[in-house]
Symmetry: C2
Subunit: 228 residues, 2 copies
DNA sequence: TAGATTGTTAATCGATTAACAATC
DNA sequence: TAGATTGTTAATCGATTAACAATC
């Protein structure tokens, strides 16, 4: 097998984990967070699979890309597994973020219930719309975009969020990259170019709506076929 | 092969199309919409694949689940292919929607640039927060939730959108289903139960942020490994 | 016509599922 | 200990890619 790298916690991580695995890890994290909330201590891969509508094999195999987090004959200690998932996904420590765009989506993100428990924190907000600058937004003052470079220099930040109102997404991305950001969460429906050491994650919300539209349509057809 | 159903346009559709195909179809639709906007008339699967970072084979194979939309030696007429994708995804006619939740996310959705061109229209907004009721929201008055059943009876509606502020997502879903809705676009991080003829599409935005977090983390490690 | 590119089949690759020895 | 469930390998399944005849 290819090169191995070892993290602080001695988890052995093969170089290239397929994207699908990471996507499912994020789903596991979400379910585990719920289980902790429900004060459930222990869960087997079989039980978790039933809850999630997947297979026990898949859960065990996915997790074993990163290590052995269960106990034979017992299953998984919920808190321990969540701890490990948080470790893998990088949620243990605070992830600092700046929000570019103080409009409605930005506002919605600031109130998003899932951020805090995963230690994602929006530290500052910027916008280039004069009507929004200096407004208070959930305790943060919306700054002029012109202040972004200075801010990033003084406050090293992990992630930049670009909201759909940012027509000039590329310019914003450039500023973020120059400011030393590591990742960009892009809600603007525009492709941006970044150097290879920067990660961009796109949120194309419209795609999920189109998928829903398709499914509605095909279900209607099915019902007609089945004589419904 | 399994049963076949034939739509108005004589496209032959095998019963069960894998979900991944539909997901990619939505992406194709997005790119084709851009191409039309750029007034590009013709594109080959090779060119489109290069643009999208996928393979020509995959594009051709995906499309051929639904029919033959290209011309040998020429490629695809952009407008024709978009027309067919719209047909498949159910975007040709207006899709009526109601928005449940007049908060910030709802507001953001009303302004979302991709809706109109795909004929998605939010026809009415409802909320149970007295502070929001009767407010004007992009030309629509926010109604009390208590008016939802009567509204749906008088105005047959395809899709209901549940925003994250809806703590009682299940109750909302029940009202929507009783009102004859076909699909639910659920932004609330809560599972809802619906009868089998109803489609639910979840938007778990936090998962995409967790994936970004992972990728940032693993890139940092890679750089360290490579002696960066 | 010759050149290009599709639609479609065959070959490859990877991902999921099943099975079971290891072990708590 | 016996029962349960993991970690992990082997078998299966499906999805992607390559190739090419059909044809514009």
């Amino acid at each position: 097998m290819s090169r191995i790298l070892v993290t602080q916690s001695n988890m052995a991580i093969p170089q290239e984990i397929p994207e699908t695995i990471i996507e499912r890890l994020a789903v596991y994290q979400r379910y585990l967070t719920e289980l902790v909330h429900e004060e459930i201590e222990r869960i087997s891969s079989i039980e978790l699979a039933a809850k999630m509508g997947t297979t026990a094999s898949q859960i065990r195999k996915d997790l074993n890309w990163f290590g052995s987090f269960g106990l034979q004959g017992y299953g998984y200690r919920v808190s321990e597994l969540l701890y490990q998932l948080n470790q893998i996904l990088g949620l243990k420590n605070e992830t600092t973020m700046v929000l570019i765009g103080g409009g409605n989506l930005g506002h919605a993100l600031m109130n998003y219930p899932g951020f805090q428990v995963r230690h994602f924190v929006i530290k500052a907000v910027f916008d280039n719309n004069p009507a929004l600058i200096d407004r208070n937004m959930n305790g943060l003052i919306i700054n002029s975009m012109s202040l972004l470079p200075a801010y990033l220099q003084e406050n090293p930040t992990r992630i930049g969020i670009i909201t759909p109102s940012m027509i000039e997404a590329q310019k914003v991305a450039d500023l973020l990259v120059d400011g030393g950001i590591q990742g960009i969460w892009n809600f603007a429906p525009l492709k941006i170019k970044v150097p290879p050491h920067i990660t961009v994650e796109y949120v194309h919300i419209i795609e999920s709506l189109m998928i829903l539209s398709y499914k509605c349509k095909s279900k209607t057809h099915q019902n007609r076929e089945n004589g419904g």
